[in-house]
Amino acid sequence: MPGEVFVDHVRKTFRNVIAVDDVSLKISEGEFFVLLGPSGCGKTTTLRIIAGLEKADSGRVYIDGKDVTDLPPKDRDVAMVFQDYALYPHMKVRDNVAFPLKIRRMPKQEINKRVKEVAELLGIDDVLDRYPYELSGGQQQRVALARALVRQPKIFLMDEPLSNLDAKIRIYLRSELKALQRKLNVTTIYVTHDQAEALSLGNRIAVMNKGKVMQIGTPDEIFNSPSNTFVANFIGSPPTNILEALVTQSSDGVILDFGEFKVKAEKIIGKSYVNVAIEQYSDKILVGIRPEYFKFSLEPTPNSFTKGKVVVIEPLGSETILTVNIGSMFIKIKTFIDVKELGIKEGREIWLEVDPRKVFVFNSKGDRIYY
């Protein structure tokens, strides 16, 4: 089974800063695995430990069941693509791509054949005799990819390979990269801080924060079932609204007290949640609602739970972001409805409702409550 990676309880500190805190990952053969998180979360360090560029303080790294923790990068059969491409500036594109093969003393004919193949695959066969500085950023990144591909390694490691490109090329190369990975079926570990990149590329995503893995899951799981407030907040744009509520009982049933308004629990969180909330978290809970899951109307409806004043309207073409103010609380709403047509202007009051099935409930520490 070529290309299986197992990271086992890896820890790494730089001076006093904990960069990677007990990270364990199991990446299977042919998988496109994304490490996602804000800058400084330890995702790049984790990747560099897998590459062998950084030594873990403790924990082990296995590739195809073999312990590679103490092996130098060259003996791990991994290829890496860097954010700034790291092409050899004194070599022509052809020699850049051929370098990993030359170093392995492959026969010249074989090298030429492989370089040609990979150059055609990536559409850089017409720039083989140029120097890297003569190429555009997109072309340079293709050369870096070619240099990684040409060796046919077990594993690709990619450290924000698209971050230095402008938006258009980035999105174009992104889909190309995905198609390429599916075609070659090589295990790929991809580091990014861009959630759109992570969601669109990954078979699975590990969301990291402060050196810890917050959640590992498919893009769908990460988006629709975040296991803590960090993931809920980090994924999605604008981020998930996290509202604090006190759970109280009254003759009317269970009431959620948001401070600015009180509401019957059933209107916001699912029935099964209500029971769990009462039994185990009778004190405080955190309610997470994605901006896209709000519904709103100009008049109260049976399901609306509060009203708020629209303070900012941001039209983004196909969608619109509303900022709604309820007392001291601000909520972001994303809608595809034409708010102008509805007659909503800044200053207008609207009534809000949600689909309780789409609401995430967390305990006061921020961990998801499951029922």
């Binding site: 290829a79 860097f82 370098f99 170093i103 240099r147």
Partner: protein, 292 residues
């Protein structure tokens, strides 16, 4: 005041200094080189190109040039090798980097006269500390300044001390200018340390090495202070390198006209050497390639 005029005014001090200390003496030297100016006699007669004709058949000059070239070959290659080795060691070693780097650079801060004086005593046959140790370990005393070839070797060794410090400094600066990512890319691509240096690091610092070599060649060609301090050209004429020969001609034999003719020829030779090196090593090309 117009910006153009300000620029010219700003240039005046530098221009004045250059005129006074470079252009004027050079012009004077060119003039003297066509005379038989003798400092002691005080006579000065125009004698045309006969100084330059005499120069062609001056066996002392030929000897001096031969010895200079031998000295250069030794001193430059020694300093290039040790300088580069020291730079690689420091680049590889993370611990104590600053301390060792400072120690290696130190000789650059010492005036050549002092270096010459110090080594004159250290290498002395009777009272030298180096000969003392050589005797202690059983090799016996070596007359460094007593035999022609030993003297040449000794001067080359001493010259390569500050020389290698300079090469070290420039080479290390070259290594430090290489982005860490490139080194990492090469390591992941499968390069061993040896191949990393051969295929990536040294080619990338080529122009740094070229500059170091250029400076070393020029420096050793005109080496004077420390050599004069140690041997004053001796024994015999074994270390009478070109600069020492010129000095002796003008101040020991007072033949300033002839010395000036020598100096002019050397100046031309040096400029040609520098030009050739710059061309050969493709410094112009590197300038346009744009990589840092």
């Amino acid at each position: 005041m117009k910006a153009r005029n300000v620029g010219i005014i700003m240039l005046i001090p530098a221009l004045a200094i250059m005129l006074l200390f470079i252009v004027y003496p050079t012009a004077l030297a060119i003039y003297y080189s066509f005379t038989d100016y003798n400092v002691v006699k005080g006579s000065i007669n125009f004698i045309g190109a006969s100084n330059f004709v005499k120069l062609l058949s001056d066996y002392k000059l030929i000897n001096s040039i031969t010895r200079t070239l031998m000295f250069m070959a030794l001193a430059v290659s020694l300093s290039m090798v040790t300088g580069i080795v020291m730079a690689v060691l420091i680049y590889e070693c993370m611990l104590g980097r600053k301390i060792f780097a400072t120690l290696f650079i130190l000789p650059l801060a010492i005036p050549y006269v002092i270096i010459g004086l110090a080594f004159k005593f250290m290498l002395s046959y009777d009272i030298g500390v180096i000969n003392y140790f050589l005797e202690v370990i059983g090799i016996g005393r070596v007359p460094f300044f007593g035999k022609p070839d030993l003297a040449l070797l000794a001067t080359a060794l001493v010259d390569s001390w500050p020389g290698s410090a300079f090469v070290f400094l420039v080479t290390l600066a070259g290594f430090e200018s290489i982005p860490r990512r490139i080194v990492e890319a090469a390591l992941i691509d499968g390069a061993s340390s040896f191949r990393l240096y051969m295929h990536v690091l040294f080619p990338m610092i080529k122009r740094f090495l070229v500059i170091a070599l250029l400076f070393r060649l020029l420096d050793s060609f005109k080496a004077f202070d420390h050599i004069y301090m140690m041997t004053a050209g001796g024994p015999g004429e074994a270390t009478q390198y070109i600069s020492i020969y010129i000095t002796k001609t003008s101040f020991d034999y007072f033949n300033l006209g002839y010395a000036c003719a020598l100096a002019i020829v050397i100046l031309l030779a040096l400029s040609l050497l520098a030009q050739a090196l710059i061309k050969m090593l493709g410094l112009q090309k590197l300038r346009t390639t744009g990589w840092r």
